[in-house]
Subunit: 143 residues, 2 copies
Amino acid sequence: MSANSRLTIAAHALVWIGLYQRRGHEVATSEQIATSVNTNPVVIRRLLGELRGADLVSARRGTGAGWVLRKNLVELTLLDVYRALGSEPVFALHPAQPDPDCVVGHGIGPVIAGAYQNVEAAMHRELAGITLEDVLRDILKAT
Amino acid sequence: MSANSRLTIAAHALVWIGLYQRRGHEVATSEQIATSVNTNPVVIRRLLGELRGADLVSARRGTGAGWVLRKNLVELTLLDVYRALGSEPVFALHPAQPDPDCVVGHGIGPVIAGAYQNVEAAMHRELAGITLEDVLRDILKAT
DNA sequence: TTCTGTCGTAACAATATTGGTTACATCTGC
DNA sequence: GCAGATGTAACCAATATTGTTACGACAGAA
């Protein structure tokens, strides 16, 4: 278990809630979502809890509790979800500081960091171009 | 210890070998590279071993052994190094197959996989635009 | 042939993340 | 107060990364 499917599960959950609400239901429970995702409800609650921190969803408690979208699927991009999950950068710099007495060791840090920034920016642009409404539309289209 | 600095270390090693060779030396030892990177020589040997599989470097053995670049720094992009390292995709799909009886669970796989392909492609385009010669030039410029 | 320096690689430890699970406290409408 | 759901802590198993020690394999030099 190591691959990162957090974005996948979060997007799945949000799309599921969106479709469920569109069909007339007010709230979706972590149990229902977990069934569709095929995982444990606690996994869903943990992920949606992070998304709540970014105000993408909110949770009702008490009887008839469950999850509600705070934004329309059209306003939610994969970048919003990715950011809400607070993921680490894809590429990390040196674990230990390189030799400062070596030209390469001394200068490579900022250079490679700049390159990584551009890579992350490209990733973000791509993620920002895909809304959850797009995802739902393509899902329904394929049926 | 979990962040992924493999690309950083590999690029560092290759740039170091390139500069060392440009200064008249034939081979670079994993010991020397490890000193600049500030890590253990075995870490360098392991990474360069993977790069050898993609024919980016080769290793001489016996007395006076060490590593030699198989291509010029101008011909080596960060994408070449990234590919040679055989990294897993940044985003993974579901750990367990989603519920096939649910519209979302049934249809989301290919849709989200397509989105991820576009994201990886954008990342690759960016990595392909940066050569190790660019990295070395920027390092020397900053000195 | 033997010595020497280096790569090649296995094996292990330490750490961190992810995903799954159980358990239980907390909240709120009825 | 009860019922049904969230909120969270506490584990566990599996995996990846990095560091480390150890030792075999190789090839040139003496």
